[in-house]
Structures are given as C-alpha cells and as structure tokens.
C-alpha cells in the first residue's frame, strides 16, 4: 500500500487559491474561481485531465478509498452534464415562452385577417420563431364545404432563400416588425408566387382520409415523414409539396375547423423533430382563435356596412315618402274641391245648353243663356287647369328598391295568402340597383298577379325572386300549382276574359296594360308540364320620355 509522497501529484486542485494563468482552464471570464477552491473544484477540476491523472494515480496505490472516490468523481461528472442539459433545455423553453408571449400579444391586438395571417406565417418561418423554411395556410370555406389554400410564405429555391435570409439577418427586427413588413411588402407577391400550389390545395371537408382532415378530425398535429412512400398519403399531395417530411398543424376553435398550416424545411432539409412539432403546436390555438375572431370581425364589418347603406337608403326613401304624402295630400284636397264645384257647374252648363237648344234664334233671352253656357265653359276650363296641376303634383316614376317593392306587395296580401294556406317565398337578390318605376302602380300589378295566381286555390307555394339582368331587374313570380293551356294563357291576357277561377274582375290584362304604360314588359310563360312564370322587367335606367309615357 503506497502513501501520498509516493505519488507524483499535480495537486493544483488542492490549492486554496491560484494566481492568474496558473490554471489553463480558467480564463479571465472565470477569474472569480481562482480564489474559491470548492467552486473551482466542482466547475473545472472534475473535468480537468490533471485531476483525472491524479485520481488514476491514487487508484493505483490500492488505497481503500480510491475506488469510492473514483465512483463519486464519475457520478459528479454525469450529474454535471445532466444539469447542463437541463439548463440548456430551460434556456430554450424560456426563449420559446418569450416568443409565445410576444406572439400572443401581437395576435391579441389584431382583428385584421391579413395581419393575423401575416403574423402566423412569419412566426413559423422566422429564425427568431420556429425557423421552418416554408409554411402554407389553408382556410375553411364553410359555404362550399372546402379547405382551400389561402396564403404561403418562404423561398421557392436555394438562391431566393439565401437572399431572403440575408436580408432578415441584416435587420434586427422583432416579430411584429417582421410580420408588418411581410404584410405590406410581400403578402400579395407571396400569394402570387405560390399560386400554382395554393390553387391545388383544395380539400373537401368530408374527405376524412386526407392527412389534413385527419389532423383536423383528431385535433392533433401530425409529423409526416417518408411522404413519398407512405400508403396513407396521397402521392399527388406529397408531390405538390415536393418534400418527404412536413408538419400538419390543425387550426381549431371550439370544435370549429378554421383551417390548417403545413410547414416544412424545403430548402435546408433540416430534420423536423417531435420536439419541433410540440413547440409549434402550442401556438396553433391562439392563431386559430385570432383567425376566427378576425374573420368574424370582417363579417361583422360587412354587415355593419350593409346596414349603414340600408339605413341611408331607408332615410332617402322615407324622405321621398314624406314628400310624396305631402304632394298627394295637396292633390287630394284640390281634387276634392274641384269635384264639388264641377258637379253644380256641370248641371248649370248642361241645362243651359238644353234650354239653348229649344230657344228660338230670335228670342231675346237667348243671349243670356249663351252667356251662361260660355261662362260655365270658361269656369270648366279653369277647373280643368287646376285639376291638371294637382294631378301633376302626384309623384309618378322615381328610383325605387325592387326588393322593397316586392316586400311591400307581399305585406299587403299576407293575410289573404295565409287564409288560403299559401306560402309566398321571396328570394331577394343582393346588391341590385334601384329601378325607375311608378311604385304604386307596379306594386299594385305584382299584388294583382299573386292574387290572381292564388285565387280559388288552397295550400300552395308562390316563389318570388329578384335578379339583375343587364339594364333590368327581373321580378319573377313562379306559380307552380297552376296548369294553363295555350288558349287559357291567351285568354288570361285578353281584357274581360275569365280563366277558370282566375278572374276576380281585376285580371292579368289590366296589370299588363298598366305596366305597358310605364314601358315595363310582363312576360308570361306556361309550359305544358305545368306552372306559370311571370317575369316583370323593371328598368334600372331612366329612359328618355319614360316619365311622360308613364303618365300618359
């Protein structure tokens, strides 16, 4: 058994303090270790070759503590390595948390869909973010029941990648600045750049076998590897992306399928790990929520705009109605007075003419009677002028909302239709222009057509729709219940002809005649298999002399 003096110890590790340069493993940055033996020992000596050599020499002496000491030294090194790994992991997680916090703050502050999408895709591809090469965003189109490619980000080839990443590295921008830069400078160009891929990224929401739909249905991200050889993956889909490894991240909020993100390392081919997937996964919920919120906000804005427009139109029409009512009132009063005067005037003038006829030419009183006739004629002429003026005060043709026209007509016949178990289904077209019509007359005609259609029948459906057709808005009334022969159709459009229970005295001929006076055509089609379709073509433009024609 040997002792300490027989070993050629380095023993630098045993010194209470060291001077600068004495230990090659302690640099200026670790200078504080020079004066602390315990810290120096744990942090540096255990890994130092000199110390290890001393341990080996000690073991060679066969001292009973040598083996235990060696085991302790090995365990110390192992635990130190583990602590370092955990510290690195903690650092990474801290960075991730900071990034997620930044991302969350930026996403929460935006209700603009383009901004949200820019943030999401920038976060996935930015080096400061998740550092993927490319990202594709697909959004759900619920009306068409599809998932469609909407936006993409990333380089198409290595050259572009080098250039882009160099630009990003040269500017020390945070996530918000990067996403703003993307949104205003690159959003459209990136969309155009990836158009060939985006337009092929169309997946039915019912295609449960598709990898993206599986991720959405199972509410979990999928790391796809060996894409070109997998049996459960559409080869065309893999070929479209051009990579054999990619991530599929579902975007879901409250069980609603918002969309999905596909991310890959198309340029660097850096392997994507489960850990990468877990990291990115944590950010998909706030992104999905932000997209959903921005989409809803967009829709709310659209509805607010529509309401605003409707309100403006309503105000205009209310003003028009007030004006119309005032004018109509003046017209009615004038007309009433004139009517009261006209009757006695007519009796005076009429009897004067009768007396004049039976009065001899040489009768001295004849000139008196002639005076009465002439004076009453003059008064009748004045009366006529007043009546013509009051008539002119009734508003005639003006620009009106065709949907409002139909709704107004339907309101008037609602009770009658209900009493006959008839349903009038109105399908108004969106965003159609106003039409130049006499509202009162045209509404009367629409009402008349519907009443004639349901007259004498029980329990049926009338479909009414409006649609823009070049310079006209077509009001189409479809009566599916009635069957008319050619003769009956012709008879229906002939004045004073009744057609099997359809003639209530106010027949179709009257409506056609009234519409024609406004230069509005009424087309009636009754195919042999049944049903009658009435099409009223309302002009969107004010034709020359139209108003005069309408009034004549």
């Amino acid at each position: 058994m040997g002792n300490g003096t027989e070993i050629d110890w380095e023993r630098c590790w045993d010194k209470e303090s060291l001077s600068g340069g004495e230990c090659p493993f302690i640099g200026a940055e670790d200078a504080e270790l020079l004066g602390s033996r315990s810290r120096r020992f744990l942090q540096k000596c255990c890994e130092c070759e000199r110390f290890k050599r001393d341990i080996r020499s000690f073991a060679d002496t066969g001292h009973p503590l040598a083996t235990a000491f060696s085991v302790l030294q090995t365990e110390c090194s192992r635990q130190k390595a583990q602590i370092e790994t955990l510290a690195n992991f903690l650092d990474t997680k801290t960075l991730e948390m900071r990034f997620m916090h930044e991302l969350g703050s930026v996403l929460q502050s935006s209700v603009d869909l383009d901004e949200v999408l820019s943030i999401a895709l920038t976060a996935i591809t930015a080096g400061k973010g998740f550092g993927m090469n490319r990202a594709f965003l697909l959004l759900a189109d619920r009306e068409r029941h599809l998932l469609k490619g909407h936006l993409a980000i990333g380089p198409r080839d290595a050259e572009e990648a080098g250039q882009t990443w160099k630009e990003i590295d040269s500017g020390d921008q945070d996530l918000q600045a990067l996403s703003q830069s993307f949104r205003y400078k690159k959003l459209n160009s990136e969309r155009y750049k990836f158009q060939d891929i985006l337009e092929k990224l169309v997946i039915s929401l019912d295609d449960t076998q598709h990898i993206i739909m599986r991720a959405l249905d199972e509410h979990k991200s999928i790391l796809v590897t060996d894409a070109f050889h997998r049996q459960d993956l559409d080869r065309e889909f893999a070929a479209l992306l051009g990579v054999d490894t990619f991530l599929v991240l579902p975007l879901i909020t409250r069980n609603r399928r918002v969309g999905a993100i596909i991310a890959d390392n198309f340029i660097t081919h850096r392997p994507i790990t489960e850990q990468d997937m877990r990291s990115i996964e944590t950010f998909t919920f706030p992104v999905a929520f932000a997209i959903e919120r921005a989409s809803l906000y967009e829709r709310v804005q659209e509805e607010v705009d529509k309401l605003r427009q409707a309100n403006i139109r309503l105000q205009e029409q209310q003003e028009q109605l007030v004006r119309m009512e005032k004018m109509a009132l003046v017209g009615r009063i004038t007309s009433s007075i004139a009517h009261s005067i006209r009757n006695p005037l007519m009796v005076i003038g009429g009897f004067a003419r009768s007396i004049l006829k039976s009065t001899a030419e040489n009768d001295l009183k004849r000139s008196f009677i002639e005076s009465i006739v002439n004076e009453t004629r003059q008064m009748e002429e004045v009366l006529q002028e007043i009546l013509t003026y009051s008539e002119a005060m009734y508003p005639t043709s003006d620009f009106w909302d065709p949907n409002q026209l139909v709704e107004s007509a339907l309101r008037d016949i609602q009770d009658r239709a209900l009493s006959q178990d008839y349903r009038c289904q109105f399908h108004p077209a969106d965003n159609i222009p106003t039409v130049f019509i006499d509202f009162k007359q045209t509404e009367y005609c629409i009402r008349n057509i519907i009443i004639s259609s349901i007259d004498g029948l029980q329990n049926g459906i009338i479909d009414i729709s409006t649609s823009l057709n070049h310079d006209y808005v077509d009001v189409r009334i479809v009566d599916k219940n009635r069957i008319l022969s050619e003769d009956e159709l012709e008879a229906m459009l002939t004045p004073f002809t009744e057609v099997r229970e359809m003639g209530s005295g106010l027949n179709m001929a009257l409506s056609r005649s009234m519409l024609e006076k406004q230069n509005i055509s009424l087309l009636v089609v009754a195919p042999p298999e049944g049903g009658v379709t009435y099409t009223i073509k309302l002009p969107t433009r004010k034709e020359e002399n139209h108003e005069q024609t309408a009034r004549s």
């Binding site: 007309s335 009429g350 004073f496």
Partner: protein
Amino acid sequence: MSRLLVVDDEANIRLLYSEELSDEGYTVDTAATIAEAVEKMGQNSFDLAVLDIKLKNESGIELLQKIVKERHDMPVILCSAFSCYKDDFSAWLADSYVVKSGDLTELKEEIKRVLAKKAQRRASEM
C-alpha cells in the same frame, strides 16, 4: 234603340243625363245608389252603363267591378271629375272614361263609339 243605365248620386245630373240622352234616342233609366242600380239591372237588360265614381258613401268602382264580373258583356263608361280614377286602378277596367262637363258632346260620342264596338264584337262572335 239602346237602353242605358245612368248611375249618379246627384238628382240634377241624373235629370240632365236623362233629358239629353233621351233626346239622342236612348231609353234611359237612372239610379242614385249601387243597390238601386243592381235592382234595375235585375229588372232590365241594359246595353251600357254610365257610372259616376263618387257616389255619396259608395264607390262607382265597386259597381264597375260587379258589372265586369257578372255582366261582362255590358260596357261601362265612367264619368267623373278628372284625377279621381287614378286613385283606384280598377277604374281602368272601364271601356271608357269621360270627364264630367256641362257639354255632353264627348259623352254622347263615347256612348255611340262603345255601343258600335259592342255591336261589332257581337257580330264577329256570331
């Protein structure tokens, strides 16, 4: 000779029409109300009716509709102050419209024209 029904709520107007149209050779019956007109139509067959639109508390248009529905071979001439007919589009169902005037020339001409048209229609149906 044709038989005419004149409906007007003013007694003097009924008298005037009766006198003037009788002079033209027509047989003229008069009525002041719709009920009276309906009763007379039940008793006699008329070739034409001359209706005033405003009949005290009633509307000549109501009678017009009744005639068009039940006696659609009987022409109707509406006779009233201008503009009133525009309040009710059903007035457009009438065969003619004449503005009330002390000078009955226009009314007489319209009666002749409408009766001739009716005769022509009948001839073509036979």
